[in-house]
Every structure is written in C-alpha cells, then in structure tokens.
C-alpha cells in the first residue's frame, strides 16, 4: 500500500475548467440581480471566452491532471473548444428566447455553462469515475434546459423523455463500468489497458462491460438502435437548446468514446470493432431513412444527426490515428454547419408562424438571401458536397475506413450520403424554388412573432427595418449563421488549418 499523498494539482492545466466553474457561479449570482439581459449574456460569453482562451493557451501541453483523473491533451481541448464554441452560439441564439427568459436568464445560462463544464471534464477524463461525473454533469443541465419552456407541453415532454432515457443510458454505462473495473482491476484507463494487454482479465466480464459501456454512450451520441429519443427531444426542446445539444454533446461524447475505447479498451479492440462497425452501419441506415419523410426541420436534423453519428463512429471503428483525425475534423466541421442551420431556424421561428416546419423556409431565397445562403451552405455541407468542409470531412472519414480495411463502411457512408441528398435537397428546393408565400398571401402571424407584423418590409426588402424590435435580435443570429457558414466554406476550400488542428488532436492519443 502506498502512503497517501495529497494530489499535486496543476492549476494551469485545470484553468479552463476553473474558468468555466467561476463563470457558472458568477452568472448564477448575476441572474438574481436586476440586470439587463445583455449583461448576463455578456458575462456568460466572457466566461466562455476566457475558458476558450485558456484552452488555447494550454494547447500543446500533455500531462495528467489530478492524479491522472483527467488528461490534458489536444484531443480533450479540441472537444472542449467545440463545446465552448457551440455554447457561445447557443447563448447568442437563446437571447430573447422565450424559454430562457421564463426560466430566468441567470439560471439558464448557468445550466448551459454547467453543461459545457461537464463536456470539458468528460472529454478529458481518463478515469472511469471522472468519466461518469463529467457525463452526468453534461447531461443533467441539458435535461432541465430541454424542459425549460414550461408552458409548452412538447418541451416538458422532451425534457422528461430525455431524462428517463438518458438516465437509462447512464445506468447501463455505469453498470458496464463496474464490469470493466472488475475485469481491469482499476478505474484508471492506462491501468486497465495494462491489465487487458497482459491477458489477465476475464474475457466474458470484459466483453459484458464493453458492451454495456458502448450502449450507454450510444444513447448519448444517438446511435441507432438507441436513438428513439433523438427526434422527439430535438423537436420538443427550445431550438437554441437543440442547437447546443446536437453539436456539443456529440463532440464531447465522441471524444470520450474514443478515449475510453482506444485507450482503456484498446488491447481488446478485436472484441468491439466489428460490433461498433455494425452500429455505425445501422445508424447510417436508420437515420437517413427516418429523415426522408420529416416535415419538421428539427426532427429532420435529429434523424440526420443519427446518420452523422454513424459516419463519425467509423472514425473510432478503424482504431487508427487517421480515424481519430477524421473524427475530430468531422466534429468541428459538423459543429459549424449545424450551428449555421440552427441559427437560421431560430431566426425563422421568430419571424413566421410555421415554427420549425419546412414551410417556414419557403421562398427564403428571394425574400431573405442573408438567411438563405447560410442555410444552403449548411445543408450542402451536411450532404458532403465539395467546396464545403463537409466534403473534406467525408473524404477524411472514407480515407480512414479504406485505410483501416473497412472499405464496406466507407461504401455505407456514401450510400447513406446519397439517401441523405433526397431530404437535404428537399429543404433547399423549398428555399429556392418556391415562391415566397408572403408575396402571395399574408403570412400567418402568431402572438410572440411580432417581428413580421411590425415589419412587413422584412419580406420585401430582404432586411428588417432598423430600429424595430426584430432588427437587434436578428442581427446577432444572422451574424452567427453567416460566420458559421463562411467558416464552413473557408475550411472546404482551404482545409489546412483545421486539418492540422484535428491532426494534432488525433495524434495526442497515440493509438494504433
């Protein structure tokens, strides 16, 4: 038995986590004061910015933190940066959002920060316990945020459904961890790997543990057949929450997935790679086919997210550095394109009475080109067409699958992409090839969507009249949409910086 020593704490390495925690507390407290909403949002953004800055500062450092509970490396930081970015966009999108105001802005933003904190911990965890803590810290605020629109039944249902199914996933995963601990004799990833590599572990137990952990994580990243909650929760949750959840959860959970399987369970990769490949293929099929008949854009994106999760899982299946690079690249690209789309959906939700229905997008091409272009670019990128980062991402993933002797999975990705074209293009057809309904008949105006009533010029001039209530809140959202779309195109034409970034992240795990 070793003598107990207080763990050495490297505050520099922990600084992003500390910044997020501080921001959480500050924002929660500030929410109690009668401050203007921009101040609270500003504080949240400042906290996220500080965390991002510190993460960039720590970029390139590789060391164990808190006695090896967390691992500071580029992979974890990459996921943290994606989560922070998604959080920041989420903050911008939820400004003036009904749900956030009802729940109390301070509480809402504090929850969001808590979730980002959980994601950062999860992405860096290399200990089963820390992993689980990060996992729960990520999830619990999300359950609440999904249900935060307390006057809408759909939102409450969404929160409850997410809570129940999420807990089921967590419980399964925790049980799986118990098995892994039983077989590996440690909660530490590298210690588990050593035991497994030495062949000291009981095969049956490790197999059960691996399977259950995989199932738990699959719930979280919405892989079929553990996906049933996804479309409902996506649709029911307030749209800014959906945007944040769809992007950030995926980034953190996939990176954690990779770390758990490729570090701790790496020595038994022969046990899980085929099973995960099957999971990926099923997700691609289920997601793409499910999305075909959706009229609600959020549901559509939910199913498309299932399919995309299948593509990304391919990066883990191949168990190689190329695979990890591809995964990280795709996560970043996916974040940008999805956020561009969600920003447009939020903007349209407030302008039209159609909510997130596909009809809200009709005639957008002629009436609101500034919204139509980001949406178009986002969908083209999701479809993986060239000129966007989506294409490079798919290229990367397919190359990884071919390289790792999983060519059939590469073909599956491509077939999925073909199917996906049908529903992505359906949206684009609505955007560009239908007449603007506002030009023919007055758009239905519902209570709360006053921008359209105040400023009918929105559909004619392509821009809200300055000074109306709609202008201020739209500018930020439109700005976010354009920023994400521009980055999507920029990384599609000149992917080098993002590729280097993803490669640094992938390399830091040193697998294969």
């Amino acid at each position: 038995m070793t003598e107990f020593t207080a763990p050495h704490i490297d505050y520099a390495g922990l600084s992003p986590v500390i910044a997020l925690t501080t921001a959480l507390v500050v924002v929660l407290m500030a929410g109690l004061l009668p401050l203007h909403r921009f101040v609270i949002a500003g504080l949240t953004l400042a906290g996220l910015g500080a965390a991002a800055g510190l993460a960039i500062w720590q970029w390139g450092e590789r060391e164990d933190l808190v006695s090896g509970a967390l691992r500071l490396d580029e992979l974890g930081l990459a996921a943290a940066l994606i989560a922070i970015f998604a959080g920041a966009v989420g903050v911008i999108l939820s400004m003036r959002e009904d749900a956030a105001e009802k729940a109390g802005l301070g509480a809402f933003y504090a929850l969001l920060l808590g979730s980002v904190l959980g994601m950062t911990l999860l992405a860096q965890a290399q200990n089963l316990v820390a992993f689980f803590i990060g996992f729960e810290l990520l999830s619990i605020p999300l359950y609440i945020m999904c249900g935060s629109s307390i006057r809408k039944e759909a939102s409450l249902e969404s929160g409850l459904k997410y809570l129940i199914i999420g807990s089921l996933g967590s419980a399964t995963m925790l049980y799986g961890f118990a098995f892994i601990y039983g077989a590996g004799g440690s909660t530490d990833f590298t210690a588990i790997a050593d035991t497994l590599a030495a062949g000291d572990a009981d095969d049956t137990i490790i197999l059960i543990g691996t399977a259950m952990a995989a199932v738990g994580l699959s719930f979280k990243v919405s892989l079929a057949p553990f996906h049933q909650w996804t479309p409902d929760v996506y649709q029911g949750a307030p749209t800014p929450v959906t945007a944040f959840m769809a992007v950030a959860t995926k980034a953190a959970a996939f990176v954690a997935f990779a770390r758990l399987f490729e570090v701790a369970l790496g020595p038994v990769s022969a046990d899980w790679d085929v099973a995960l490949a099957a999971l990926a293929a099923i997700s691609i099929a289920v997601g793409n086919i499910g999305a075909l008949s959706q009229d609600s854009l959020k549901r559509l994106l939910g199913y498309s997210g299932i399919a995309q999760a299948g593509y990304m899982l391919a990066g883990i299946v191949v168990f190689s550095e190329t695979g990890l690079n591809a995964l990280v690249f795709y996560l970043a690209a996916y974040a940008l394109m999805n956020l561009a789309i969600f920003a447009v959906i939020v903007a349209r939700e407030r302008e039209t009475g159609f909510g997130d229905d596909i009809r809200a997008m009709e005639g957008l091409g002629s009436s609101r080109p500034l919204l139509a272009w980001p949406l178009t670019i986002g969908f083209l990128a999701l479809a993986g067409l060239p000129g966007t980062s989506g294409f490079i991402g798919k290229l990367f993933l397919i190359e990884a699958t071919v390289d790792g002797d999983y060519t059939w999975l590469g073909v599956a990705i491509v077939i999925g992409t073909m199917i996906s074209m049908a529903y992505y293009l359906r949206v684009l057809a609505a955007v560009w090839m239908r007449p603007d309904p506002a030009a023919e008949a007055q758009m239905p105006v519902i209570a709360g969507a006053s921008a359209e009533a105040d400023a009918p010029g929105a559909s004619a001039g392509g821009r809200d009249e300055p000074g109306t209530k709609g202008a201020g809140r739209c500018l930020l959202i439109v700005g976010a949409a354009i920023l994400c779309a521009a980055a999507t195109v920029a990384f599609g034409v000149y992917p080098d910086p993002l590729v280097d970034w993803a490669s640094a992240a992938g390399e830091s795990l040193a697998v294969g």
Binding site: G365, V402, G410, V411, M418, A429, W432
Partner: protein, 502 residues
C-alpha cells in the same frame, strides 16, 4: 483561367442588376481568351501535361492541387469556354429573374467544369466533378419552367425533376469518390497517392481494378447519360432553362467521356480490357435507343436530348475500341457535338418563342420569313447528322474505323445509328421550318444579337469541318499516350472475338 469565371460571377453579384450579365460575360470572355492562347501556345509534338501547376493542398490526405492540360483536355477546355461565353452572352441579352444569383451560379459552374478538365489529381477531379452539380441543381430548379409533359401524363415540375437528376448523378459520383480514395490508398501503400501520373504506373492489382472500375464507370455513364442510367435525362431536359441546358448538354456530358479517357483507361487498364465488351454493348444500346427515341419524340428539347444519348454512345464506342484512331475520333466528336448542341439549343429557344412551345408537331413554316435563321439551323442540322464534309463525319468515321478494326460486329450495328441520325435531325428541321404554318406560329427573323451568337457558333462548326486537323494534330500524341498500355493486350482480344465470329 480556372477561377476567372467564378470571380466574374461574384462580381456579377456586386454590381447593379442591369450589369450583372455583362460582368459575367466579361469573365467568360477573358476565360475564352486565355483558352485560345492556351491552344496557340500548345506544343503539339509532346504528349505530356503542359502549363502544369502543382501545389500542396491537403498534405495529410495526399491530395495535391495539380492542374495542367494535354492534347485531350485542350479542346474540351476551349469548348467549355466557348459554350459558356455563348450561353452567358445569350442570357445577358435576355436577362433572367434574379440575375445576380443566376450569373454567379453560371460562373461557378464554368469554374467547376474547367476544373474537372484541368485536374491532374484524382481527388481534385472528383471534387470538381461533384462541384459541377451544385450550380446546375439550382439553375435547373430555380430558373426552370414547368413543362406540359407528354400527353396523358401530368406536367413535369422543375423541383422534382431536378432532385431526380441530382440523385442519379450523385449515386455515380459518390461511388467514384470511394473508388478514388480506394485507388489512392491501395496504390499508395502507406501514404495515399492521388496524382494521376503516378497512378498510371500500374500500381493497382487486377482485383482492385475490377471493382474500382465500376465505381468510376457508374459515375461517367450516368453523367453521359448512357442507356439504362439515363432516367434522369428526359425530365431534366424538359424543365431546364435552355441557355443553361445548352452548356449542360454540350459540356457536362463530355466530362463523363473525358473521364473514361483520362482516368479509367490509363489507371485501370486490365479492368478496361476485361469489361471492354460490356461497355461496348452499353454504348451500342445507347446509340440505338437514343436514335429511336429521338425520332419518336415530339419535344424539340428531347430530340436534342436523345440525340445526345446516341452521340455519347458513339463517343464511348470510340474510346472503348481501345485503339488510337477510335479515341482520336472520340475526342474530335466530343468537341463537335458540344459545338453543335449549343446553337441547336439556342435555336430551340427561338423556335419555342415563335410557336409557343417546344412541340415540333405544332411548329412549321418558320423558315418562310426567316431565311437567315433557316440557313443557320440547316448548317447545325447537317452537322448533327454528320453529313460528309462536316467535322462530325470525320469524327464518326474515325470512331467507326477504330471499332471496325477491333470489333467488326459492333461497327456494323453502330453504323445504323448514323443512318437514324439523319432521319431524326431532318425530321426536326422539316417540322420546324417547312410545312404549312399553323395558326399562332409566327415566322419572324432572329434579332442581330442572337444571330451574332448563333452565327459565331456556326462559324466554329464550319471551320472545324474544313480543318479538323487543328484538333487531331494536338490530341494525337496524348491519345497515344493514354492508350499506350493497350498496345499489347488489345491484340489477343481481337483474335478471340474473330474466332467464334459472334
């Protein structure tokens, strides 16, 4: 040159509506100018790549930004710029709705197409190949018009027709993406290789060639379109805006044929020999099917469309004869067909304006007061049916010659296609221009601006007819180089087919 049209397209977005078209036309003109200089500078004695650009693009994936021209792509590049210049000029005269987006998309399309012809890196080729689809999707969908369709069937609406087209073509090109990556990774042994020049060294085993061959063939055959995978063609042709359709039909189908010549033959030589006959049968079926359909159609657009199917069948036939004269013929035929189909489409615009639709049976007598238009149309028709003296005749002669020496049966059947071509081409001309003039059809001469564009294109047809060597001289060396791997294998195949007599 590659990025000029796109830049002009962006410029078109920025300038006021009235000048958008002219800004785009300026870009297309500059690209044309550069293409002509490329032709005059071209060193016809060498087979290799000229004016090469080679930059690193995504080092982690082994993708390089490699561009260059050789004798095969040279004239296709020229054809592209000519066709686009004509189409943009035409559209600039008759400005469509939302001109800024329209010209931006046209510019993007030109850049993508030129990129596909210039790319010397397999993945770059695939990238541009896929990129071509996006602008055409929007152009067809947004500016297309509803077509009454065939009698007894409902009207064809643009959006579904376009989605059909895109799904068809993407099935092919995405498979090609996997094929390209697989080829690069398998050949690269560790670090993937996508440079076409390196892939040509024969790094692929015969087994991998076989399946990758079909991935590529699928993409190219759909694009052409060849028989069996042409399903997207009729609807898309019905709804497309005609100036756009002109460039689409003139150039994009050639990318498919070009792909066979550039990618499939040199990189998968053994697979090509093994599957030669299957592709030849597909080509023959395209010729016959295309011709037969072309003379039963009443829509002038579809006559042109199905005639393209037949013509592309010829081109494929020439390429898969796997002999230099067949391939030479294919190259010249690609240029010919492109340069014929653009004025044909533009004339169809004029015909449609005069008769209120593109149904040829409802046209007639338009020649009466429009002798210039009739004359131009006649030249185009003659070229389309490959009358001796036209460049198309030279092209078809070369192709048939090549096939004849290789597979005599195929050549005999293909010759039927030539005969049928004269029937459908003349039928189109007669119905439109002669006969009694029905009610509601006016016979009006074309305006000088339209006349100048069509006249210029017709002048190209005539010039090419008198002096096809201009193309042949420059393409010959490169064609030989692409086919160099078939000198030996083609002999035994010929012997085998002659044995049983088939």
């Amino acid at each position: 040159m590659l990025w000029l049209p796109l830049a002009a397209g962006l410029l078109a977005c920025l300038v006021p509506r009235r000048f958008a078209g002219w800004a785009a036309a300026l870009g297309a003109f500059l690209a044309l100018d550069l293409a002509i200089r490329l032709v005059t500078d071209f060193d016809s004695g060498s087979a290799g790549i000229q004016h090469a650009v080679d930059e690193s693009w995504i080092p982690e994936l082994g993708v390089r930004y490699q561009l260059g021209v050789d004798g095969i792509s040279l004239f296709l590049v020229l054809l592209t710029t000519v066709a686009w210049f004509a189409a943009i000029l035409w559209s600039a005269i008759r400005t469509p709705e939302r001109p800024k987006t329209y010209f931006f998309l046209l510019g993007l399309a030109e850049t993508a197409t030129l990129g596909a012809f210039l790319a010397q890196d397999l993945l770059l080729f695939v990238l541009f190949f896929d990129l071509m689809l996006i602008p055409f999707y929007f152009l067809f969908g947004s500016w297309g018009s509803e077509h009454p369709g065939r009698e007894g069937e409902g009207p064809v609406r643009p959006a579904p027709a376009t989605i059909k087209m895109i799904v068809y073509t993407l099935v092919g090109s995405l498979l090609m993406l996997v094929g390209a990556i697989a080829a690069g990774v398998i050949a690269g042994d560790g670090t993937p290789v996508f440079s076409m020049a390196e892939l040509r060294e024969g790094l692929l085993s015969e087994g991998s060639q076989h399946w990758i061959f079909w991935f590529f063939a699928a993409a190219f055959l759909v694009k052409m379109p060849a028989f069996l995978v042409h399903g997207w063609m009729p609807d898309a042709y019905r709804v497309a805006p005609l100036p756009v359709l002109a460039v689409f039909s003139a150039v994009l189908s050639k990318v498919g044929a070009y792909g066979f010549l550039r990618v499939v033959l040199p990189i998968f030589p053994e697979a090509t020999v093994d599957f030669q006959e299957i592709v030849l049968v597909i080509a023959l079926a395209s010729i016959l099917y295309g011709s037969v359909m072309a003379f039963t159609q009443t829509s002038a657009r579809l006559v042109a469309g199905y005639s393209s199917v037949a013509q592309l069948g010829f081109i494929t036939l020439g390429i898969f004869a796997l002999r230099p004269d067949g391939a030479d013929g294919a190259v010249i035929q690609m240029v010919n067909h492109g340069i014929v189909i653009v004025p044909l489409m533009l004339i169809i615009v004029l015909l449609a304006e005069r008769s209120g639709g593109d149904d040829v049976t409802k046209m007639g007598g338009i020649a009466m007061r429009a002798p210039v238009m009739a004359a131009l149309f006649l030249v185009v028709t003659m070229a389309l049916l490959a009358i001796p003296g036209s460049a198309n005749f030279v092209g078809e002669f070369y192709i048939l010659n090549g096939v004849f020496q290789e597979k005599i049966v195929f050549a005999l059947i293909a010759a039927l296609g030539v005969i049928m071509a004269s029937y459908y081409a003349l039928r189109l001309f007669q119905h439109a221009m002669h006969n009694r003039k029905p009610e509601g059809v006016e016979s009006r001469e074309l305006g000088w601006r339209e006349g100048a564009i069509i006249g210029g294109l017709v002048a190209c047809i005539v010039a090419l007819a008198f002096y096809p060597q201009v193309v042949l001289k420059r393409s010959d060396e490169s064609v030989n180089e692409q086919l160099s791997s078939f000198e030996q294998p083609s002999e035994p195949t010929a012997a085998v087919t002659e044995g049983p007599g088939k």
